[in-house]
Amino acid sequence: MQNSTRRLQALRSAAIVSFGFVLILSAFLVSDTLLTYGLPNGGLVSAFVSVGQIIAEATGFTLLSFRFGWRMLAIGGLIGIVGPLIGMYIVHREMAMIGETLAHTAFAGVAIGLLVTGATGIETNYLLPALIVAILGAFLVEYLAARSSSYGDVPIAIMLSGSFALGTLVISYGGGLTGISIEGVLFGNVSVVPPSGGTIMLVLSAIVIGVVATQYKQLLFITFDEQAARVAQLNVSAYNSLLIVLTALVVVGAMQILGVILVAAMLVVPVAAASQIATSFREALYLAVLIGEASIMVGLVAAHQAGLPAGGTIVMLGVVCYIAAVVLSDRDLAAISIR
């Protein structure tokens, strides 16, 4: 018992430090947003860039001597928190494929947004139409799931491929009308994330963290034992809808770095790794956030240094953590059976 309490305290402390680090990076995003809209930003952006230049001079690591480098790191830091945070609930509700589905739905949203931009000339960040369509898709998935006996994979598979097909048709129809890279949307493109991408991520993360912080217990109860939660008069249908909408928010926010194809990994892989070795839900939550943060931070830096795609590097690091966790948990089981 003392061991598990000490482990939990250590993980909690590490998660708080990590959260503090992301909070500092979020201050950059706020300042970055203010600067973009010509508002006074207190010079925070230039202070961050100056720090980055000092780091570059000392180590030769140049990423942080640019404004976009800090923006990328800050968005990544937020993804490392909100991805596993929502992932803890959807993975253990056996809804792991929902993230993948909503990402593909968001892709249809990007395509529709591009078409609207081409037709009307109104330019917005491509994440906004993605967000709207992903939320509509979230309700559609919930509607379909409620009319099957469980979160069966058939309606989810149909939604996944159907929305992707819609996206490709729309893009084909409106081909040549847009300036954004579809490859960047599919696989993520860290070097062209605009300031508005940081603003959107900041707002989405604040909503997700705020909701989970206040509804943690209810979401946990429903995740573990939905029937008992219903008997306890929790509005399970409303919480299910809330969870899927939060998933859509996370997916759209994280899409800009990880891309449509890989975004779901950040909801699933750190949680799967943490759940292999954690004893309690809290422990798994802290561990999942730490694994998510480590994969993203190390992945972004390594990808920049080695000229690799960031999304793929981040996800592969997460997968390595997962395999390590499986090996570790097997050793624990072997040790228990020997005793």
């Binding site: 206040t214 029937q227 008992a228 929790l234 759940s275």
Partner: protein, 251 residues
Amino acid sequence: MSDPRVSAVIEVTNVSFAYGDTSAVSDVSLTVESGEFLGLIGPNGSGKTTLLHIMLGLIEPDSGSVELFGEPIEEFSAGHRIGYVSQQSTSKGSTMPITVREVIEMGRFAHAGSQRLNDEDHAIVEEAIETVNIADLQHRRINALSGGQRQRAYIARALASEADLLALDEPTVGVDAESRDAFYGLLDRLNSDGITIVLIEHDIGVVTDRASRIACINRELYHHGDTESFVESDALAEAYGASGRVVHHHH
């Protein structure tokens, strides 16, 4: 504990429910009084679980009405007064990392609302853990426990929520005989402390030994009355063997 002014904990009136064209529960009326230990029995597929789900508001009946603690079920909001141990709750946590204590703490969630659990909540959780005698298991993952130990944890969750009514759906499936006896001993103790119990159990011997009243159904209600009258009646043979006819309904 139960409101002394309300003696009927559950009141089901002319309830029917069908899955599509297949009738699961047909025109069932019964009352569960405060402090009662009701055994709900019937053959496989007889609608026991459906009826229990209707009683708890998990399924809305096609016709008829249900009252919980004197309130129409549509208006009932004191969910913490009911502790429910479902058939699925034993398997649901199989891959989820969650400790026994975290599961038991869920019993306090309705009381705490959006606040963190306070010292009083933790004291009540401790007391529930002591009552079911699983203090040494509280920091283990729930899926590392045996079936019998896990069921004790779910009972502790109900106690932590200060439930007046405990509804259990075949709680000892896959539990060894010794643990099962200990488990039913615990239910007896809780019932003598005033907690109303509704138990679905496939082992009729267990039910006739423990329950004060029995409801025997096979879509229709074949018997509802005290255990002695059930043992002396033909309801068992009728419900399990022949097509239905008589409703023994004693209050």
